[in-house]
């Protein structure tokens, strides 16, 4: 399926996957993330049960220390 991931179009070689599975698929290793689908926040504990659909706009942001 095709999604928009972090403002870029991306083809994912899977049909049904959760936000958590997308994180593994993309090998995102950061522990602290903020995830959104179609402008809606997907909270940390909702990532395993929230599915991504074809055409969704997905945001996965890494939290980085410093300030």
């Amino acid at each position: 399926m095709k999604i928009i991931l972090n403002n870029r179009e991306e083809v994912i070689e899977r049909e049904n996957l959760t936000v958590e599975e997308l994180i593994q698929y993309k090998n995102y290793t950061f522990k602290l993330l903020v995830t959104k689908i179609n402008e809606q926040l997907v909270k940390k504990d909702e990532r395993k049960t929230t599915f991504i659909k074809n055409g969704d706009k997905v945001v996965v942001l890494h939290m980085i220390s410093g300030g």
């Binding site: 972090n6 903020v34 959104k36 926040l41 940390k44 890494h62 980085i64 220390s65 410093g66 300030g67």
Partner: protein, 204 residues
């Protein structure tokens, strides 16, 4: 817009600053100089010698609570800015209480856990309220890697990769660049909202 017009709009605006360290203290100074109406400051820490490499405090303020030391410094820069200071370790509950009236929130924490906490809280509880976060500013050099990304009402400033480590300490120049970028973005959003453009078009 002339500076007079800019000041007339900003005078009516309120910005929340979550954390008064390297990002928060410098961002607050820029917003105060530009003439923001009100700043709501929150921080739990005191000024230490190790902070002076990048934070807008002075040697005679060591040991003072950061929110009150910053309030004093902002008063010397622009006494017209109203300041509301909270000496507090922010959590979801206090964020909702303290920043509910703010037009824009600046995320200025240093710990990644706290950044995640405030971003999730604001996106969840204040849908539509702009939050401007600093993400990746440790080390030195590579100025062109620092940029701004927008995800609806969430704005991220930084290089999106360089965290604090032994080899990449937080230093005044890069932390300052990101703090100024956050202030600049806040002003753009506040002025755009007044021109009925809304935050979505703030980048145009």
């Amino acid at each position: 817009m002339t500076f007079k017009e800019i000041k007339a709009i900003l005078k009516k605006k309120r910005v929340g600053i979550a954390g008064c360290g390297g990002l928060g203290s410098n961002c607050a100074v820029a917003l105060a100089r530009t003439g923001i109406g009100k700043l709501v400051l929150a921080d739990f820490d005191v000024v230490r010698k190790s902070n002076l490499n990048r934070q807008h405090f002075f040697t005679d303020q060591l040991g003072q609570k950061k929110v009150f030391a910053l309030e004093d410094n902002l008063f010397f820069i622009n006494p017209d800015v109203k300041i509301e200071s909270h000496h507090i370790k922010l959590d979801p509950e206090s964020i909702i209480k303290i920043f509910s009236e703010c037009d824009v929130i600046i995320e200025a924490f240093d710990e990644a856990e706290m950044k995640q906490m405030i971003i999730e809280t604001v996106l969840d509880k204040f849908p539509g309220k702009p939050i401007i976060s600093g993400m990746g500013m440790a080390g030195y050099g590579d100025s062109n890697s620092i940029r701004m990304e927008q995800h609806d009402n969430l704005y991220i400033c930084g290089d999106m990769k360089t965290g604090i480590s032994e080899e990449t300490p937080p230093l005044a120049p890069r932390v300052g660049i990101v703090a100024m970028m956050q202030a600049n973005q806040a002003i753009q959003i506040l002025l755009a909202s007044e021109s009925y453009l809304g935050f979505k078009k703030a980048r145009e």
